[in-house]
Every structure is written in structure tokens, then in C-alpha cells.
Amino acid sequence: MKARTKFLVSGLLVLGVAGYLMANSIEQTATYYLTPQELAAKTTADPTFYETGVKVGARVVPGSIQREPGGRQVAFRVTDGARTYPVVYRGIIPDTFTDSVDVVVEGRLGRDGTFRATTLLAKCASRYENAPDRNDPKYRNTPGYRAPATATAPAPAARG
């Protein structure tokens, strides 16, 4: 057999093993990434979705966060506007976790309708890109503040 053929055969073997590992571990570790509404649809259609590991991406309902003293356990509600689920989570709470933040919770939906999360990721996207909120009084009642579109604001050229 020519070396080239041998290499191709053994190369395919390596790739085959890698492919097998990939396919196999996708079976084992793949989890659905759902919105609350999709989760509701899935559980209605197929009750085995209760107590099955899934990921849910949603927004924290403002004011729903109840932290246990010590900061190890937290209960809150998440929503996508259509459906809302209560969540309990035990573990280290990320610094970015707060009202109205987008979170990804991974865990199981219990038959009682409570989602028990084993991981809690809070996205920081919102805080990377937000300009100051003009309605926030802390930016307003301070010296140097200029209301939107006031005539007193110097033209951009003057500051060049």
C-alpha cells in the first residue's frame, strides 16, 4: 500500500474516533436551550420534560429576588413576557445577577412548576453597552447637567 493511502486510512481513523466522540458526547451533554414559553410548550406536549435537564434563557422579574442571608441561596422569577417560572438556585451567585438582567439557568423543572437551577449565569451585555439613563436623577441634579436639547449646550465645534 502506498504511504499516501496509508496516511489517508489512518487519518480517517483518527477523524472517525474524533467524530464518534463528538457524536457520543453531544448525545450525553446536549441540553435544550429554551425560553420559558418554549419550556411550557414542551412540558405540555411531553410530560417527560419535567425533571429533565434544560437551560432556560429569560429575564429576571424586577423585585422578585429573595436572597437567603449569606448569599448562597436565592429564589426569583424569570419571564420572557409570555410565561413566568419561579426559580430556586443554590450556589455562588454571580456579581452581575440583579433585577431585570438576562440570565441563563440550567437545571430541572419540577412537577410543582418550580425550576431548580444548578447553574446561574447572568449576562453582562446590558451593562457593557448602556449609556447613562437620562431619567436617572443622579445624573440630573448635579452641577454641569444639561437637559436634553437645551440651547445652552455649546455647539460641538466649540469643544474641538
Binding site: Q28, Y32, L34, D95, E129, P156
Partner: protein
């Protein structure tokens, strides 16, 4: 200055458009005046992008909060160094920074390669200018950093506290320097494809830039891991997050290219493959940026969903179509000049190396894009987590580690049995000894044992090479070992620099394997209470809480817990973890509180302490983790970077000196201490 900067951005846009147009036209029509104008356009683009960046820095340093970017990412009380780094803290600014690097690289490329490759250059300039044009268009039309608010806040929102970290200050620039450097090889590849000048000439220019890219990506990824580890507080440094994967992908294909290029240089094989690797490395770095910025794939640290994503998607498709077309129509010009002769040869080892690196890249890409793919095919988003990446990549990574030892030592073309025996007996013995020793010491983790056995083997091969090389120099030149070692490396930078990179790889892999023995403890401690445990090395630890302290510092309010520790009964120091509430210049809280991890570093392990929360006044909830060998990830990364620097350091001076030595050798004793310049004149006179 701010206005000048804003206008410069538009001028740069026009310059890049001009440069791209006349360069392609000049190449096609063979008009030297157009080509020269295109090259001058590249310099001008750089000058104006630099002005635009300086204008942005001026706006940031003068706290001009009428500019949205300045108000969004800085505040009046932000420490000065972070005002400087604020340029790349957000979307628009980091795009400008990217553009600055790209235009700088373009100018350097034109300056250094103009003479050497007259046929390729018009197209190289054209591709570089087109890419710059794309970024400038995105900046001017999609995400303008100079965009103004219609009101003027008294203070900005301030910088995300997690970005207020020295690692974060230098990690993104390094990654950008690496990402952007992939553009130059891509430009050369496209130019070579267009002109069908696909001999070795384009590869020479490409190799150095690939090394530059590889070097900065290595440094950037290492710093990124370090930042994640010390700042994010989850106890690890790599989570297979899409954004992390995005930085790994071009590194993998770039590494594959740096190996396969040797096969083409020496044997004229793999010519198609190399073009494909260069092109994919560039496409992957653009894809990485797209993933990071579009919000298409959810990631913990992605930017918000923004129109910039569409620009990148468009550019990606364009680049893919153009380069795909070029490769497909030039296949005949890319036929290999030699064939693989034996499975037991350096060529074969390098082929496997490429296969594995690209295999890893493919699996990482697959796992990263899986949510999109599954949504397209099956209608629901399915994600794969770290277990997927680990099950696939650990075996592949170990095979790669094995090849790291085999590749550099096995003979070209066809290895004889005696070659194998001579090169590999001692290293194989070293590896097996390492494995056996660890097994005897009680290590039972399968992958870790394999990893350390292979690490011993590779270290054996590297050690043997240095030993032989130093020995040969000592015999031939009568040098002492230290001098021989320095000269050995200095005179064969590619080869021994490569070994140093491989040494770094071994160190990093050994550190990764240490993760198998990580231990985590969650404890609740009142002031004066203690917690006792045993670390993975068998040491007995005791932590005593010193209670909770609260104080103000710079731009933040701090709540801290201190633990006094003893190891095997001896004091091991105090470790402190903090919760920080950042405040603005009026003392109002900004952002959510952030956690500052307490780390006691050592070569054996890190003791990693996170304050999870405080109950009442005096009780702290803490997580204490023993992370074995983490230290070595950073040092291994640095060793790799140093090796990379050695490989790419210019060798021109040595060659001149070599010529002189050859000429003067017979009468070398006559003028042993003569200054180099004088003897060079002598050499010239003789000629």
C-alpha cells in the same frame, strides 16, 4: 482635537477606498503610478486613523460626556490608566482600536515588502486596504465612537469594575494584535492566488506575519485565562464559552499552518492545504469577532446585540466567496511537488499534527455553533457544554502532545529503525519512568497519568536535543556549557525557539492535567471560627476567620473577609477576599457589587478564596478551592511566547557575521578583538 478626530475618521475612510481602488487597478493595468499612489494611500489611512484614535483619547481624558461612548464607559473618577484603556472597553472604541492596528500593520507591510514582491504587492495592498475600508465603513456608518448624546450628563456611567484590572487592560490589545495580524497572510495568499505566483515567495513574507499573529494570540489567550481566573471568581480559567473559543480557533489553525509551512518549504508538499489554512485562519478571526459582537450566540461576555454583527456577517460571506472562488480556480497551480514516502517520517508526523489541530478546531467550531445549527435543522436551540469539549479534546490533545515529541526528531522522508532507536529510546524511558513513578505515588486518574507520561516523553526529547546540541558545540568550538547553550539557540533560532515553545506546551498541558485533582469546599465561618481540610498534595490546612471589615477605598466601598491559614501546623499567611461596591464621584453606587478573589499562589497549587456573602455583621460564607498547578498555565504560556519571540527574531545580522567568519576563519587569530565594522571592511577588501 475631538473634531479633528471625528473628521479624520471620514478622511481615512475615503483614503482607504482610494487606496483599494487604485491598487487593484494598478495591479491589473500594470501601472506603477497607480500602485505607488495606492501605497501612499495606505500610509495616509494609517495617519488619519491614528488622528481619529488620538481624538477619541482626548475626548476620554477631557471627560467630554456629550460623546455617548465617553459617557457610557468612563467617569470623572476613573483611575487614569483605565481612561487610556477605555478606548477598547466598548464596541465602537474597540473597533476603532482594531482599525488602528490594521492600518498600522498595513503600513508596515507596504513599507517592508514593497521592494521584495513587486508583482504581489498591488494586490496585497488592495486586500489590506479593502479590509481597512470595511472596518472604517462599519465605524462611520454602523458604530461611530464619536456619536453624541442629545444631552450632557454630569458624569459618565463609569467602567465595568471587572474591566478595571491590569490583565483586562492588556489582554484585549494582545488579542486584537493577534487577530488583525492574520489579515496580512490572508492578503498575501489572495494576491498569490490572483497572480498565480504560487511558488515559495509569498510564503516567506507570510511566515513572519503568521508568527506575529501566533505570538500575540498566545499572549492574549494566556492573559485572558489569567483575567478570568483572578477576576471572575468561579475558580477556573477556561469555560469553553463562545468568546473564548473564538480566540482559540485562529490560534489552532495558525499553529497548524506554522507546522505545515515547513513541509512545503522542505518538500514542496501541502501547497493547497497551506493556502486553505491561511485563508481559514483569517476567516476564523473574523468569525470570532462576529460571534463576539453580534449577539448571535449567547455568551456571558458578549457585546449587546448590535447592527455591527450584520456588517461582519456580510464581510465574512464576501471574504469566503472570493477566497473560495480563487482557491477553486487555482487548484491546478497548487499541485504538490512531492509525495508522502512513508508513514514513519517527519512529513507524516506533521500531517498528523495538522490533522489533530484542525480536528480540534473543527470540534470547537462545531460545539460553538451547535445552538445555531440545531435551531436551523431541528427548530430548537440545543447547547453543548464543557463536557462535550472535554471528552473530544482531551484525547485529541494528548495525541497532539505525543506528536510534539515525535515530530521534531523523526527523520524526513523515511525514518530508519536505527533513527528511531537513536532518537526515542531515552525519551520513551523518561516518559514511562514518570508515569510509573506517579502511579507508585498513588495517582489514579487515567488521563492525568497519560498526560504526565507523555509530558515526560516530550521533555525527554527536548532535553536530549539540547544536550546533544550543547555537547556538539562544546567539542567543536571549545565553549563552556552556558555559552554553548546561548549560541546554540541564537544561531538556530527557528529550531531551538520551536523547542522552547514545545517546552511551554508541556508545561501548560501538565498544568491542565492538574485540574483533575482540584478540591472545593463551601464553608460558613463566624469571626474566630476555623475550618480544617486536606489539600490534594496531602497537606493539612486550617483556616481561621479574622472577621469582616468594611472600609472605603479610591472609587469603591469594600467588604472584606480575612482568613489566617496554617499548613501542616505552620503559618501560611493571611488570605483576603473582598466584595466591592464601586461608586461614582458623588458617592452613588454604580454597577452591581463585584467580588475580589483572594489567591495564595505557589508552584504546587493556588489556594483560591471567594467571599460568597455575609450573614449579619460577622459571619462569612466562603468557598475555599485548592487548584493544583494553576500557576504553570501562566508560566507555560509565557515560555511559549518567549519561544515564539526567539523564532521570529530577525536573523539578518547573523548572516552577515557568518559570511565574515567564513572569510576570516583561516586568519581569525590575527584580529580576535577587532571591531566588527573594521573586519567587515577587511572582508570586503579581500573580495
Amino acid at each position: 482635537m475631538i473634531l479633528v478626530g471625528e473628521l479624520s475618521l471620514w478622511v481615512a475612510f475615503l483614503m482607504a477606498a482610494w487606496s483599494a481602488t487604485v491598487s487593484f487597478a494598478g495591479g491589473k493595468l500594470r501601472r506603477a503610478d497607480l500602485v505607488a499612489s495606492g501605497e501612499r494611500g495606505v500610509y495616509a489611512t494609517f495617519a488619519f486613523v491614528l488622528l481619529a484614535a488620538l481624538g477619541m483619547w482626548t475626548a476620554i481624558f477631557s471627560h467630554d460626556f456629550s460623546i455617548k461612548y465617553v459617557a457610557s464607559f468612563t467617569s470623572a473618577n476613573l483611575p487614569r490608566p483605565y481612561l487610556f484603556t477605555a478606548l477598547w472597553a466598548g464596541q465602537a472604541g474597540s473597533m476603532l482600536f482594531w482599525c488602528l492596528i490594521l492600518s498600522l500593520y498595513s503600513a508596515i507591510t507596504v513599507l517592508t515588502s514593497r521592494k521584495a514582491n513587486p508583482e504581489l504587492m498591488p494586490y496585497v495592498t488592495g486586500v489590506l486596504a479593502t479590509t481597512t475600508l470595511f472596518f472604517l465603513a462599519t465605524l462611520c456608518l454602523g458604530a461611530n465612537p464619536y456619536e453624541r448624546l442629545d444631552w450632557i450628563p454630569a458624569d459618565g456611567r463609569g467602567m465595568n469594575p471587572q474591566l478595571q484590572n491590569p490583565g483586562m487592560a492588556i489582554h484585549p490589545p494582545n488579542l486584537y494584535l493577534g487577530y488583525v495580524a492574520t489579515t496580512v497572510p490572508f492578503a498575501f495568499a489572495v494576491a498569490a492566488l490572483i497572480t498565480r505566483k504560487l511558488d515559495a515567495a509569498w510564503l516567506a513574507a507570510v511566515r513572519r506575519w503568521s508568527l506575529v499573529s501566533w505570538f500575540f494570540l498566545t499572549v492574549g489567550i494566556t492573559l485572558g485565562m489569567w483575567w478570568a481566573y483572578v477576576e471572575l471568581g468561579w475558580g477556573g480559567y477556561w469555560a469553553w464559552d463562545p468568546v473564548e473559543n473564538a480566540s482559540l480557533l485562529p490560534w489552532l489553525t495558525g499553529t497548524a499552518f506554522l507546522h505545515s509551512i515547513m513541509i512545503q518549504e522542505k518538500r514542496g508538499m501541502l501547497r493547497k492545504w497551506n493556502v486553505v489554512l491561511v485563508v481559514s485562519t483569517f476567516l476564523l478571526s473574523i468569525l470570532g469577532t462576529f460571534i463576539t459582537r453580534s449577539g448571535v450566540i449567547s455568551s456571558v461576555h458578549s457585546f449587546a446585540q448590535s447592527p455591527v454583527g450584520n456588517w461582519f456577517a456580510g464581510f465574512l460571506v464576501l471574504a469566503l466567496v472570493v477566497s473560495g472562488y480563487l482557491v477553486a480556480t487555482r487548484l491546478k497551480d497548487l499541485e504538490a511537488k512531492a509525495e508522502l514516502e512513508s508513514m514513519v517520517s517527519r512529513e507524516a508526523a506533521f500531517l498528523y499534527n495538522n490533522l489533530v489541530l484542525v480536528g480540534i478546531a473543527f470540534s470547537v467550531l462545531w460545539g460553538t455553533l451547535f445552538p445555531i445549527l440545531s435551531e436551523a435543522v431541528r427548530g430548537s436551540k440545543i447547547t453543548v457544554g464543557p463536557p462535550f469539549f472535554n471528552t473530544v479534546n482531551i484525547p485529541l490533545g494528548l495525541f497532539l502532545l505525543f506528536l510534539t515529541g515525535v515530530g521534531p526528531l523523526i527523520a524526513w522522508r523515511r525514518a530508519s529503525l536505527s533513527n528511531l532507536r537513536r532518537q526515542f529510546t531515552a525519551p520513551a524511558f523518561a516518559g514511562l519512568l514518570t508515569g510509573a513513578a506517579l502511579l507508585a505515588l498513588g495517582m489514579r486518574d487515567f488521563y492525568a497519568l497519560v498526560a504526565y507520561t507523555l509530558a515526560g516523553f516530550v521533555l525527554g526529547t527536548i532535553g536530549q536535543e539540547f544536550y546533544k546540541g550543547v555537547g556538539a558545540r562544546m567539542r567543536l568550538h571549545g565553549e563552556n556549557p552556558a555559552v554553548a547553550l546561548v549560541r546554540l539557540v541564537a544561531r538556530n533560532r527557528r529550531r531551538y525557539g520551536g523547542y522552547i515553545v514545545h517546552f511551554g506546551i508541556v508545561v501548560v498541558f501538565s498544568a491542565f492535567a492538574g485540574l483533575a485533582f482540584k478540591r472545593e469546599n463551601d464553608v460558613t465561618l463566624k469571626a474566630g471560627e476555623s475550618f480544617e481540610t486536606v489539600d490534594p498534595w496531602g497537606h493539612h490546612w486550617r483556616f481561621v476567620s479574622q472577621g469582616i471589615s468594611r472600609y472605603d477605598q479610591l472609587n469603591r466601598q469594600v467588604t472584606a473577609v480575612a482568613l489566617e491559614s496554617t499548613r501542616d501546623g505552620k503559618p501560611a499567611g493571611i488570605v483576603t477576599s473582598e466584595k466591592r461596591q464601586h461608586v461614582d464621584s458623588q458617592g452613588n453606587p454604580t454597577f452591581e457589587p463585584s467580588t475580589e478573589v483572594g489567591i495564595m499562589e505557589s508552584a504546587k497549587q493556588d489556594v483560591y478564596v471567594v467571599l460568597a456573602g455575609v450573614i449579619g455583621e460577622e459571619t462569612a460564607e466562603v468557598r475555599i478551592t485548592f487548584n493544583p498547578l494553576v500557576w504553570w498555565v501562566w508560566y507555560g504560556g509565557m515560555i511559549m511566547a518567549v519561544g515564539g519571540l526567539i523564532v521570529m527574531w530577525p536573523q539578518a545580522e547573523r548572516r552577515r557575521q557568518g559570511g565574515y567568519v567564513a572569510v576570516m576563519a583561516p586568519e581569525g587569530a590575527l584580529a580576535p578583538a577587532a571591531p566588527a565594522k573594521a573586519t567587515l571592511v577587511t572582508a570586503a577588501e579581500r573580495a
